[in-house]
Symmetry: C2
Subunit: 182 residues, 2 copies
């Protein structure tokens, strides 16, 4: 169970959001805009993949499974294929643009100053736009927050990874605004 | 200048927020709720101090100066006193509760799993409530996002630290909702 008394038995960030609905609103608004807004040239699957990858680097079981399952849902990949991408995205069947954005995300995970001008240039050379680079950085940074929030308060997570796969289609339909109430 | 073309010359996160107002809204709502909401037993100064300290640990010049100056404004400390707290909060004139929350924040900065049950117990023994512990963790996590966003996109920051001290009273009055437009 979590380090603090949440007065609910919801897993991961959902328990924290139900405990503190005042901050839940802003956190879900950020996730909804960054990960789902239709006015974006990165697909929902690509954006969820960046979040899942950063959560993997931060070793956050709950987030990497929630967002890995969502990425798999959108990109039509199974759990093993998502795992393979997390472990070695350079060898995966991804666009060179996505690989360059995942490389930037990996630097952001270590710390903002780890991003280099060379990585930005490399991303531009694959066709990444400034807005795509911006969003990749902010998604990676946001998951460095979400992961720390979830693990820093010692929340629990369903251990069966299939649980997350099974929930992904419903979550994809509902979005993040309503996550507290499900 | 920043790694991407922001089409403005605003420093730090303000330039990024003006570039992408869709995400600015959620980010400022989070900062406003976490750092300024009156329904909180941590003072505004204490909350800004957690943010400044985490920004110092992340070596983010812009954020540690903006929020260090705000903490100084609220806590009636000058820039040298805030610097001394960042460098060694255990030796500073702070409550044992604040010291226990800053210790938790330092663990969150390293990664969520670095927070220990012993740190939570120690915080409770100084009188910290569950909500205060929750907010300290989320503030620390949020600054791990803000710092990475600011430095990951290579934004510029005014080098004169007095600039931030001079701006703090106005920022304290206006809050975070309107920061893009100033």
């Amino acid at each position: 169970m979590a380090y603090i008394e949440l007065n609910n038995d919801l897993p991961g960030i959902r328990g924290l959001m139900a405990y503190r609905p005042e901050t839940e609103k802003a956190l879900n608004a950020l996730a909804e805009t960054l990960l789902r807004d239709d006015d974006n040239t990165l697909t929902r699957g690509e954006r969820e993949l960046i979040g899942a990858y950063v959560s993997y680097l931060n070793d956050c079981f709950f987030c990497q499974n929630v967002h890995g399952a969502l990425a798999g849902h959108y990109l039509d990949c199974n759990i093993d294929e998502i795992d393979a991408i997390k472990k070695d995205f350079y060898s995966a069947d991804l666009s060179s643009k996505m690989k360059s954005l995942l490389a930037i995300a990996a630097s952001v995970q270590k710390g903002g100053k780890n991003v280099t001008e060379g990585q930005i240039t490399a991303a531009r050379n694959t066709g990444a736009t400034d807005k795509e680079i911006h969003d990749a950085v902010l998604i990676a940074a946001a998951f460095c927050m979400f992961n720390r929030y979830v693990d820093g308060l010692g929340t629990w997570a369903p251990p069966d990874r299939q649980f997350y796969v099974n929930r992904a289609p419903q979550r994809a339909e509902e979005g993040y605004q309503s996550s507290v109430y499900k």
